[in-house]
Symmetry: C2
Subunit: 476 residues, 2 copies
Amino acid sequence: MPDDITPVLLCGGNGTRLWPLSRKSYPKQFAQLIGSESLFQASARRFAGQGFAAPLVITGDPFRFVVTEQLAATELAPRAVVIEPEGRNTAPAVLAAALVLAAHDPQAVMLVAPSDHVVPDAAAFRAAVLAALPRARAGDLVTFGIAPVRAETGYGWLELAPGARADATEPQPLARFVEKPDAGRAAAMLAAGNFLWNAGIFLFSVPAILMAFRLHAPDMLAAVQRSVQGAVADLGFTRLLPEAWAGVPDISIDYAIMEKASNLVVMPYGAGWSDLGGWQAVWQESGPDSAGNVCSAHATAIDCHDTLLRSEAEGLELVAIGVEDIVAIAMPDAVLIVRKSDSQRVKEAVAVLKARGAAQATSFAVDHRPWGWFESLAVGERFQVKRIVVKPGAALSLQSHMHRSEHWIVVAGTAKITIDDQVRLISENQSVYIPLGAHHRMENPGKLPMVLIEVQTGAYLGEDDIIRYQDDYARK
Amino acid sequence: MPDDITPVLLCGGNGTRLWPLSRKSYPKQFAQLIGSESLFQASARRFAGQGFAAPLVITGDPFRFVVTEQLAATELAPRAVVIEPEGRNTAPAVLAAALVLAAHDPQAVMLVAPSDHVVPDAAAFRAAVLAALPRARAGDLVTFGIAPVRAETGYGWLELAPGARADATEPQPLARFVEKPDAGRAAAMLAAGNFLWNAGIFLFSVPAILMAFRLHAPDMLAAVQRSVQGAVADLGFTRLLPEAWAGVPDISIDYAIMEKASNLVVMPYGAGWSDLGGWQAVWQESGPDSAGNVCSAHATAIDCHDTLLRSEAEGLELVAIGVEDIVAIAMPDAVLIVRKSDSQRVKEAVAVLKARGAAQATSFAVDHRPWGWFESLAVGERFQVKRIVVKPGAALSLQSHMHRSEHWIVVAGTAKITIDDQVRLISENQSVYIPLGAHHRMENPGKLPMVLIEVQTGAYLGEDDIIRYQDDYARK
């Protein structure tokens, strides 16, 4: 419907605070942290249905196929997936989204929301958005203010104007934005009762936000406009022009616009919200048992209190005995143990590993690609074993290697294999050999995922020993 | 030399207290817990050199090839490796060792020692053994008494006779054995000064210990004698007769003999000893740093105190932040977190996992075999990928499978492969296919370990789908 609200899902993030489950290569919005869907999927679903148009997603290049794959699983088609050449905080992302929307629907109303938040009562939140819609249509910038439940120093706060009500069911006048406070100030605001948390969720019309940028950030508007005008369509993605984007400042929408604008209102929301800003929040949102423990499958607490114990792999048993106030996250390549009340310090672990050159700081063993995924099962002196899973209908690029030959054994499904000028189908329990230098390609012509074990042999086995001749996903 | 002392290394154990590094399938004496050798290797080395003959090892069937492999690495050849049909505590093991020795050297002097203890000053311990030798030759049963450093309730204690000195450098008269005390009694003994820990290490002559069994356990003597007389030599192992062993009681040498014998003396030893009876002891013996932390490679402590952090795999990073008094042992298939002062409770973790049917309770992903080892790299619905490493000169059995076919890809070294009536050599980067039902065998004819990736396909992939036609290691 032309009057529907367009959700704009901000989907960047660098994944430090929930390491090791969230890493730069696959940040937290894509992980199954709470429930059976990713936070990103839950966010897309939250803003779907009556009154909402298809979402616009703004993300980084490495995540574009994860976005389409996860959206496809929810059966929600995106209106657009906009790719930022580099992450530049929220102001340029919101502005780019507004300009992309303006090209097709100059009067559109956009709901801007991070895609890594938890909102247990989605219907209540949708109702709050719809309640704020008239003010957004009227040209105001609506920010959502969360009823605070603790003296949080990690968020900005919103001060209501005199006479405004923190538990109102329609937008209220706002006195001002308050930057992240110290503990004393946070406690005072919690006690005062006329302060709300700033959740970074906004509702406004395209004309209203463009006007605000014109007033408060005209240089940024010009640069982002060039980047959007020069954007190219690429396999369904909207790729912003990198040259123009390079000059865009790294700045939040709060700082660039909201703290300066005068046409602001706040929509109070009190039915539960979390930004899962650390493991302590995950523990809280997961619903601890009577002893205060949260245990995943394959995690066992013996005589423990107030723990979050997560095993993130089928074949990995985590057992804790006699510990208290502990978060333990176990993965086959990385284990984190942190005092729950210290869980904001996880970034120190990432920093230490990064300094030591450990890949676990930023990457996973499983690598997501447009055609599916692969993982390294074993690495030896002159060999590597991988499990490769190719989605139905998908194909890897036509490629060759300078330094390695490969054995492929299909263990599930059927593969269509090209080696130089030969094409053949190989099925479960059949194998082929790819000599060094041969042009080769692997496709899954079937209806089910195809699983293949690849054994590489050679003196150099890096991912960069690849020459691509043709690629369905326009990779170089 | 005929007068040399024969070390008798007791090498059973079920590996519960140091789970997950120590498991029933590969107990703690074989693990690298302290330093660069296993405890078993360090024990064999401790009692080697001037005055000591080649050791007799008494172990269980599953460990026989680990014993020979680890001894080979120390370049110490065993006098005999005796295999108990089943573990029956220390009395039957010591008696069997005495009877095996008696057949060749009726006057031999034997030093009985568990193979999972830590003795930092091996030379000092050897000196203590040699100082006690005259009393052993004279027919006394010498027990070694460790100078106590805490009110330990987990050990038995030894009470010196009136007038004996706890710091003497030669054997002292013993008043009596004290069973594991309660905390109050332990504190009193520690304070009294005339008590030592019973370490379960003994020195005596074969005639003296056989006489003691004749006096105090004549039924056991008869049963073990039948088992030794019926023993068979099998690939260099001495296999006790299982039928006779079935009637042997499960009883310690302390209880069966030492608490009853009158010809006992104690050799005090005060230069450091630990039985590594739990993770707390490993922490202690590993030499904590100034903050009380012990970190292995790939383990990082950030603002921690009094922790033992061990990563047991190259590709596994363990990071702890802000925790105290914690032991964390990380392996790719199991992670243990336990309050250090609770580390005797590790057996509860094993019990929980066993009840749940988790293989990690008792087994490792790596499986040691006489010909080398293998590990499962990935298991899927109808496939499994293994890495197989075959020692130079070794061969797997000639076998066939009813439910699976196999692809083998050699990634290091050269394999001699038999498939039905064909024999061929395949080298790095070559592969073969073993059809379901084919008789096949894999050998390593080379001088270096051969590494092979095996991809199995089939509806049933258990280790028990194997029909053996010929086996160098006499397995069924």
